[in-house]
Symmetry: D2
Subunit: 274 residues, 4 copies
């Protein structure tokens, strides 16, 4: 676990400097970039409601004409990747994303694990299905192969808990980089946090909000990024997953941390700053 | 609109002393009572995930064997009512609920509008269907007529914005009554807030979290109760509804209030109290 | 088993004179009466497609605005009962149906088993749900209690295999009673047969058509009525049900009979009469 | 229209010698071949129930773990194509299918329209999605590209009404070729007819059975193959489609033909041959 606090400190525990595949946590950074490119136009192509279904469900797409419920289920993240590709080749789009994450974490060593990306590309039949399905509704602009190639590589970014906690600080700081620069407008930072809280854990998002009470985004690699606005950016990593595909021990660790610190957005102990 | 603040003040605007039917907002008070009676046992009979469907959908019930997704859709609130009936007659259960709401609001004049309750009972075919459907799965203990009779009367509680904002203060104060008494444990208050944020506006809960950023519960009568933990308990009322069955102007007023004050749980301006 | 043939004979086997509750098989007679009353207007309120779902599913009703898929699932039969009630009290409507069945079977002893009807009425929560649900869409005209009371009594008609096979002869004879009278127009008889083939066994209708190849209607009491147009009206009864709620041995007996006789509507051995 | 009768005659009307793309009608021939290869093993990978949904729906696949409802919806036909590929290259599998259809129709000129196949391959995003989706459940053995390439070419077989009516004769003759050879066992011919009746027109199969009363299979090119066991094999073609994707005038022509001739499998006029 790594906890970056609003006063600039960082607290590490366990294997906080061991790298892992951030997988779906990358959807947070991808979404942030896409909103910077097209703003609220994005919401014509992706919804912002909890899906009530699993991370790779295709049912909802059929019922809602190819518009994914939110940007944190796979279908939604694939559309976001399509937006980020606009005008670029995959390599360029991935370069932009990597530069963005490195800037956020102030760490130039962050990289993509090509082997992980390749193994995804070979077995991701469900994601190929989702992408072609949305393409059939006209909700993908670029060729499916390019979008998915980019998507698989984005998911294969390798980071440590330390790097991830540092990269999430802009969501703790109302959209500002700790160096004072503005990463996103204040309102957008709040909104990304809101989406993480309502949609960040697939069909267990309600349970995570209920037990932990922090905006969070999980990845199938066992990582979770959780934000306490004004207080902390937290990364945990533990590979064992629960039945909803979220880190089992990671969730538990965050629940205990929230109990101990009062770091729940639903707690009165979080009060307006003077 | 009425805003009760953590320091004990109250700010009123518009027709804050005109009564209206709180309808589904009553589900918050019913849930609080039921958790006091059976605690976490409740979650064996009701889920706590966003439904992804409309407030009166029956599809999810069939797919999940009669277990409603959360206590704030109609089916879930009917199960909660069944819990609150335990060992009581409807009149007694309603009396207990009314006493609870009066205690929260410190106002003995709050009452049920019998005429509203009767009109519900005559036209609520969809709710009768939901209740019988859950009964067929064994998820209702009492006779359907008694449960629904109680439910329709609970929804027919009439309150003003002032009364409603006052009644919501325990959720702003980590479970305490302003008189210092504990209404619910701190953790339970946080969890009710979490449920309001993820499930309080039916299939527009994500949008409300995105735009407003406060735990809230809407009613078809045009009212919304919104909570800013540590800061404010807010009631708004405006009868015109949007396509999701939530107050159109009420949502907008709360969105502007959140912008103006920073009262979003996703904002860094809400920081830990020292 | 009882087999009534087109030449006026009847062959009996096993307990062909033991009465049983015909249950959903009564939907065939109810549909025939309703078409006589309102003709093709019926299809504005009920579809004629296989449902793809279980006999008591409510999902399809929500997706299709209260219009049941076909008259042989419970929801569809409840609408048909509502049509048959038109202008009558339940007792009168049931009297009409009984007279119709007695006329078809040429047997005045056929009666309703009141005890069976009462037990249905006490436990049929799912059917109460279906009826109220359709009422909420305006697809029931009469009060739910009256419609369901009539429906439960209709399902409780007790018949023997002999009586049932005799009652089905009009569907074997292109709509004529063996006494020469016309029960329904020829085209309507064909169409009722078509509905029995595509929808008569709930979500196992395709399998029954595949294995047996006769229009048929099953009941949860273990009975099946099967028609070979121009050749035979067959009733079987065996209480053990398979996972789709159809008589297990009854289906098997019909499959073997079809093999032995060539009595499949899909067989070339059935050729145009000269 | 072309009508091949059991006595060896053929009646032609309109543009019966103009070729068109048979599209989904090819699923009948593909299914016949696959059953010859793997027999009832096929039913472990494909169901035989009406789907209750559109021809290209993916919802049912998710709910039923990648097993298509029947071999006549797209997903089912893609699995059938995968079976037919077994041990062959696409060109060989297509050659086998072409030889089979030419043998049935006794016409060596029948061919695949490569241009049609190519245009399908370029725009069939929905079918690519279906195939990858099933692959993700392990219900496709061969690479998706090979299966779909074969499938698109199979659908692009061009035939005239005359050729199609001739090719369908084995289903009229209990599985025999008019030359006396056995194409499929009698029981299998009946079963293919049963599947055509219950599933041959997507979510309008019930309506086609109701109005026409013949086993039939439609194609998006405007063709329909309909079978009257023992009596006729009929092909109609008219490009205008109704809302369910079936030939509008073609269906009407068959309905009128059935009225005029009594050629409904639900009519008593079809009686056992002596």
């Amino acid at each position: 676990m790594a906890v970056a606090t609003a006063d600039g400190g960082i607290v590490l525990g366990g294997s906080a400097d061991v790298g892992f595949s951030i997988q779906s946590i990358s959807k947070v950074f991808g979404l942030t970039l896409a909103l910077g490119k097209v703003g609220d136009e994005l919401w014509k192509r992706v919804g912002r409601e909890p899906s009530g279904t699993a991370f790779n469900s295709i049912v909802q797409l059929e019922q809602e004409a190819g518009i994914p419920r939110n940007p944190f289920i796979n279908a939604g993240a694939i559309v976001v990747t399509d937006v980020n590709l606009g005008g670029y080749r995959p390599r360029e789009a991935l370069g932009e994303l990597l530069r963005f994450v490195r800037y956020l974490a102030e760490d130039e060593t962050i990289a993509i694990d090509d082997e992980v990306a390749r193994s995804e590309a070979q077995t991701g039949f469900r994601n190929i299905a989702l992408a072609n399905y949305m393409r059939s509704f006209g909700n993908l602009v670029h060729p499916v192969e390019l979008v998915l190639g980019t998507y698989f590589h984005q998911c294969a970014i390798a980071m440590t808990c330390r790097q991830l906690a540092l990269a999430g600080r802009y969501l703790m700081l109302d959209g500002c980089h700790p160096d004072g620069g503005r990463v996103v407008p204040e309102r957008r930072a709040r909104r990304i946090n809101a989406l993480m809280l309502t949609c960040g854990h697939y069909d267990a998002s309600g349970d995570f909000a209920f037990r932990v009470g922090m905006p969070g985004k999980s990845g199938v690699g066992g990582g979770i990024l959780a934000i306490v606005p004004g207080s902390a950016s937290i990364a945990v990593w533990s590979p064992g997953l629960n039945e909803n595909g979220n880190s089992k021990l990671g969730s538990l660790a965050l629940e205990r941390l929230a109990e101990a610190t009062g770091w729940s957005v639903f707690s009165a102990r979080l009060q307006p700053a003077r």
